[in-house]
């Protein structure tokens, strides 16, 4: 069992947990992820490690409530326990000789982007970042990103904060203005990574993306997370999750992510059903005036 030490609401539907997981914290490096299972009968879901502290023995994960499991996870509080928390999994990322790096993070993707940029910043690399979200209140990790970036651009789809538009618009501008980077890291929804990688391709700048396919074990045993990278089939759990964005077949990835869409709906409706029942019971038990 793994204890939730701290819980923070970063944005509507986006939550952060600081987990008590000393063994994971000791080995964790930027680019790695964990697999967790809330309870017996639960599914195993991968979450990127957003931060870690080997001394305190803590690992920070950030998740968005989209399906049944993430919503159920969101109902847990500080002090509660999670059944399984496995990691660190995946290959750590390394940037041995870089001088200047651009980080591009969209939505929840800012969380996995952060530890990579933090490491680069600590290595003395010049870090430029572009982060974005649908709306101002959906933006996460702005302060953290500010702390590790030499220059930070903020964008929102609706213009409620920073630049009006997608992060890719700023990415395009910087490259068109002739700014040079040793590497560009783009993390966000697959469509954002696809468009971003297409923008950087003509400039020949190495572009790293971090993929989030469906996984079961996370140890290379099931092959469910396979992605086409160039001519090869890679397992995101043990060969990734970071890959060369210019080689990834994003269309295939997006299709494969939809495999269980029907089942996800069934699961979610069932979860809502049981929760609404509890809510109705609570309301029934409360003062009837309060209900009105």
């Amino acid at each position: 069992m793994f204890k939730i030490l701290e819980k923070r609401d970063l944005a509507p539907s986006i939550k952060l947990f600081v987990m008590d997981a000393p063994l994971v914290a000791k080995k964790a490096r930027p680019g790695q992820f964990v697999i967790l299972r809330i309870k017996e009968g639960g599914e195993r879901i991968p979450l990127t490690i957003a931060d870690y502290d080997a001394e305190k023995g803590t690992v920070t994960v950030v998740f968005q409530e989209v399906g049944k499991t993430t919503r159920e996870l969101g109902t847990l509080k500080a002090g509660d326990f999670i059944q399984d928390f496995v990691g660190p999994l995946g290959v750590p990322v390394e940037f041995p000789h870089h001088k200047k790096v651009l980080g591009v993070g969209g939505g929840l993707g800012v969380a996995p982007l952060y530890p990579k940029l933090k490491m680069l910043h600590e290595q003395g690399v010049e870090v430029v970042s572009i982060i974005g979200a649908k709306t101002a209140d959906m933006l996460i990790f702005e302060d953290e990103m500010k702390a590790v970036s030499d220059r930070l651009y903020v964008c929102t789809d609706d213009g409620s904060k920073g630049r009006h538009g997608f992060v890719t618009v700023v990415l395009k501008e910087l490259l068109e203005q002739g700014e040079k980077f040793d590497e560009i890291i783009i993390i966000g929804p697959p469509i954002l990574m696809k468009i971003g990688a297409e923008i950087t391709r003509p400039y020949g700048i190495p572009t790293m993306v971090s993929l989030n396919p469906i996984m079961v074990d996370g140890t290379g045993m099931c092959g469910g997370c396979r992605v086409s990278v160039g001519e090869e089939i890679k397992f995101a759990c043990v060969d990734g999750p970071a890959f060369d964005g210019h080689k990834v077949d994003f269309d295939e990835l997006m299709k494969r992510l939809a495999t269980y869409r029907d089942e996800e709906k069934i699961s979610l409706e069932r979860f809502h059903g049981s929760h609404e029942c509890k809510l109705t019971e609570q309301i029934k038990g409360a003062d009837s005036d309060a209900v009105k």
């Binding site: 063994l23 994971v24 080995k27 299972r37 009968g41 639960g42 599914e43 195993r44 049944k68 499991t69 059944q83 399984d84 928390f85 496995v86 990691g87 660190p88 999994l89 079961v216 074990d217 996370g218 140890t219 290379g220 045993m221 099931c222 092959g223 469910g224 396979r226 992605v227 086409s228 089939i233 043990v238 295939e252 299709k255 494969r256 939809a258 495999t259 269980y260 089942e263 996800e264 069934i266 699961s267 069932r270």
Partner: protein, 464 residues
Amino acid sequence: MPLNKSKKKTPMPAQKPEVRRRNFNEVALGYTEEDAVNEAQRCLQCKKPGCIQGCPVQVQIPQFIKRIAERDFDGAIKVIKETNSLPAVCGRVCPQEEQCEQRCVVGKMGEPVGIGRLERFAADWERAKGVQVPDLPAKLSKKVAIIGSGPASLTCAGDLAKLGYDVTVFEAFHKPGGVLVYGIPEFRLPKAIVQEEVEFIKKLGVEVRTDMVMGKVLTVDDLFDMGYEAVFIGTGAGLPKFMGIPGENYLGVYSANEFLTRINLMKAYSFPETDTPIKVGKKVAVVGGGNVAMDSARSALRMGADEVHIVYRRSEEEMPARQEEFENAREEGIIFDFLTNPVQIIGDEKGWVKGMECIRMELAEPDASGRRRPVPVKGSEFTMDVDTVVIAIGTGPNPLLIKATEGLELTKHGYIAADENGKTSREGVWAGGDIVTGAATVILAMGAGKKAAKSIHEYLQSKK
């Protein structure tokens, strides 16, 4: 002791095919006491028993059978457990027909003695009354780490615990048992049995730690730093093989590992009560001819598929699956397409499987494996109308721990090189089971775990 001269094995009650094809309950129901005594009386009690030579862990077969015939079931299980710590598992999944039973003298004139069935009976008889934990020797205060919790590891851990070692088992999944829980389906090996075996080794004092992906969370070096004096690696052959044909990434294409793990370990058959889904369509093709292919096909049927095919490139004779599993599968309505090889998988616009193009094969001269080599028949391509494909063509060594461990010599196929006692090129490190041999049987893995335990014991005794 009266002799039963029947040429046939005493039949074992089983679920009828038309019923069992739609449920995950165990197919074979096991002998009653009368059945067992009756079958035990078919044993000739040979002076030079061949059956023992056929057993990878050398169970004293005539001895235990004699005790069953005498209704001394307690004595029978004691004899078995002297050499086999997982009899309830072995009685169910061992390929007895090519081991002990193949060498049975009774088998020369009719069917051999049902050794596997009798072993299962004795084990189940003991389970029903509650397994006794043996008296343990004084602790040696020497720590041994076991990586993985499949049959090789459980055997090695149990044997070392019985010798007084302080044993810790590290399992990557949330549940111990390895292939016994993620691979072999409930209808062939109930998970409760595996659970009991794990509980038993815990009672011997073994600590079982789950969620430990070794090589990631801890390395072999870490284990030595933590004070473990010997390490046994029994991580299995868990890397799925794909065919390398176009279309393998379409939705609805599964490796057998993923397919079976979702169903067995994650209990996708209980979805949505449990959270892990699986997509099993109406018409399923399973590619391969081994036990894993049989397990996948029979699981697909139980998940509600209308039609399940096994597509195998050689003929029935070369098929590596156990005869019993093949027969069970056929009785349940699995369709066998022999001498057929997939060429490509065809998908629809959304990326879902809608068919599989195959080519007919014919058998040429024997190849290196001694089996006749299948070659394609020119122009014989045809398309199977399927919506789910499960690829069960074998597995390779998972490199995760190997990559993270320095000084381990590997075979040319990437398995860990080990001598006959499981000793690897690195001091203090043993390995056994599928990670050394490649995918093999439960009993061979157990045999390897046993030999390694003995070798580790000798090493640690000489070390002090």
